[in-house]
Amino acid sequence: MLQSSRSAPFALTGGRAGTVAAAFLLALVTATILAPVVAPHDPDLPDLFNALGGSTAAHPLGGDALGRDVLSRLLYGGRTTLLGPVLIIAVSTVLGTALAITAAWWGGKVDAVVSRVLEVLFAVPGIVFALVTVAVLGPGIPGVVTGLAVAYTPYVARVVRGAALRERNLPYIAAAWVQGRSGWAICTRHLLPNLRPLIVAQSVSGLGFAMVDLAAISFLGLGVQPPEADWGLMVKSGLDSAMRGNPMEALGAGLLIALVVASVNVLGDRLGRQS
């Protein structure tokens, strides 16, 4: 039975690593939300005197090739970079959970069909999927998010289906039947709450992967489009700048991606062990 401590449904911050990771993410999210307030400069304003400039009081992380303030671009770029994975995971979690519960609940042929479809999806790497949807929907966040959301669905569905199969045979489900509840009521009010810790843990771990994939696609130039700021994009343009004098852009964006992924994984691991 999937059971975690019920009085504190998700003890996110147990242990030092968890606390640090949660604090870091919270601070970062707050900073990106407050970007218009805390960013020292307009992220899209070129300033040729600052082009490839090093660290100064006005530009702590210097400027990129066009002289735009790197710190401000990191803060604004965090918005798309962080929001994209959340969208991907939200969509794939809802889709995957719905498919998994449908498959586990009906069993038999329904399960067979859903499982085969999921296996086919599994065979296609997420990036390839995103390339296809980008080809259809055009470059930009909507196409990438759609593709990655579909690509991530089977990962959620596989785990949830296994757990749902176990849960649906437990006596409390039979007891709910005997109370005369409908299948829908049992799924939504009894089965789903019992799967919740697992689903949450699974999606938090997925966030890290989604972020790396999204950054990779932006790096390829198919995700976020310039001049909008994005960490994946900044790693790419920053490589060039690094050769020519200011490594801060690529380093900052790369480091943030790495730190966010690491923090998210620490939290996901913690949630996974609880569930």
């Binding site: 006596p171 039947w177 019992n194």
Partner: protein, 312 residues
């Protein structure tokens, strides 16, 4: 007028390769309104399956034959909305292990009020108030606090009372109690039985009590039916006559006599699909004669034993 009439019920589950495994065979049983009937037998004798057949909770793919009539209407094979309505309002079940049968992640209040808001059309507030009253009825005083608690915070005895309260909430005509006290200690056991008995007297609810505790059944029920290997071998009220029931009763320790050794019925219980052609109890019966091995003895005059007249 009977409330529930089971006749010639057969239940078999698939055993692979087109084979069927019989679990319940030719079971007939009737319960009147407000009556308590005990169904006793060893583990695997088919007593739980019989009760589950009434409420449509049989294993997937099970084959059911015969008839189950409830309040004059056939309910065997009921599906969908009609089955849900039967379960929601008219027949309720109390399970052996309340901890496994109550959703662990939802509060006691959720568990108790769900049926009331969904089936009786009560508002959440009215349902909560009613839940507190019901908890008081089953001997749980601080209902408001209990409603906020989760199943793991309650003891087994309390949880079984919660389960009983949830059953009383819908005021069913028939309660199927599947070993309601087996998971509880002896003192809690008698309290829980007293609650069930009281609610039966007050509300006129009929009850089918499934147990392997003969004393408990005899103390609570108007009539007893004894099952062995998927069949009812005897219906009795006071004195049993079937060699199996007699053997069971002899196997109990006596309160006043200190016996050297307890009486045992030799051999082990068999399931319906393991039994040979004759009387299923014949291999263990002290009175077996060749005639016993010829055919399954029919339930004649409440006892399924061909030699019952000679043995009396």
């Amino acid at each position: 007028m009977t409330l529930l009439t089971i006749s010639e019920l057969n239940l078999a589950v698939p055993a692979g390769r087109g084979q069927w495994r019989t679990l319940v065979e030719q079971v007939g049983l009737s319960i009147g309104p407000g009556e308590a009937v005990g169904l006793v037998g060893e583990s695997g004798s088919g007593k739980s399956m019989t009760a589950r057949a009434v409420i449509g909770l049989t294993p997937p793919g099970a084959r059911l034959q015969g008839s189950i009539r409830f309040g004059g209407a056939e309910i065997l094979g009921l599906r969908g909305r009609a089955l849900r309505e039967l379960r929601a309002r008219r027949v309720a079940m109390i399970f052996q292990d309340p901890r496994a049968h109550i959703n662990p992640v939802r509060s006691v209040g959720d568990f108790l009020t769900e049926a009331m808001t969904a089936h009786l059309g009560l508002t959440a507030k009215a349902a909560a108030a009613r839940a507190v009253r019901l908890l008081k009825e089953v001997g749980i005083g601080d209902g408001e606090r209990r409603l906020r608690q989760y199943p793991h915070e309650l003891s087994g005895g309390l949880l079984q009372r919660v389960m009983i309260a949830s059953v009383l909430a819908v005021e069913p005509e028939l309660i199927l109690a599947d070993e309601p006290t087996t998971a509880l200690d002896v003192t809690t056991q008698s309290e829980v039985m007293a609650i069930l008995d009281e609610s039966r007297r007050e509300r006129g609810t009929a009850m089918l009590l499934i147990t392997h505790d003969l004393e408990l059944a005899a103390a609570t029920c108007d009539r007893l039916a004894v099952m062995y290997a998927g069949r009812i071998v005897e219906h009795y009220t006071e004195t049993p006559r079937h060699p199996y029931t007699v053997g069971l009763l002899r196997s109990r320790p006596d309160l006043f006599v200190r016996p050297d050794r307890l009486h045992v019925i030799p051999g082990r219980p068999v399931a319906a699909f393991e039994a040979g052609a004759g009387c299923a109890f014949a291999p263990r019966c002290p009175h077996t004669q060749p005639v016993c091995l010829e055919a399954r003895p029919p339930l004649a005059g409440d006892v399924a034993c061909v030699r019952v007249e000679e043995l009396a």
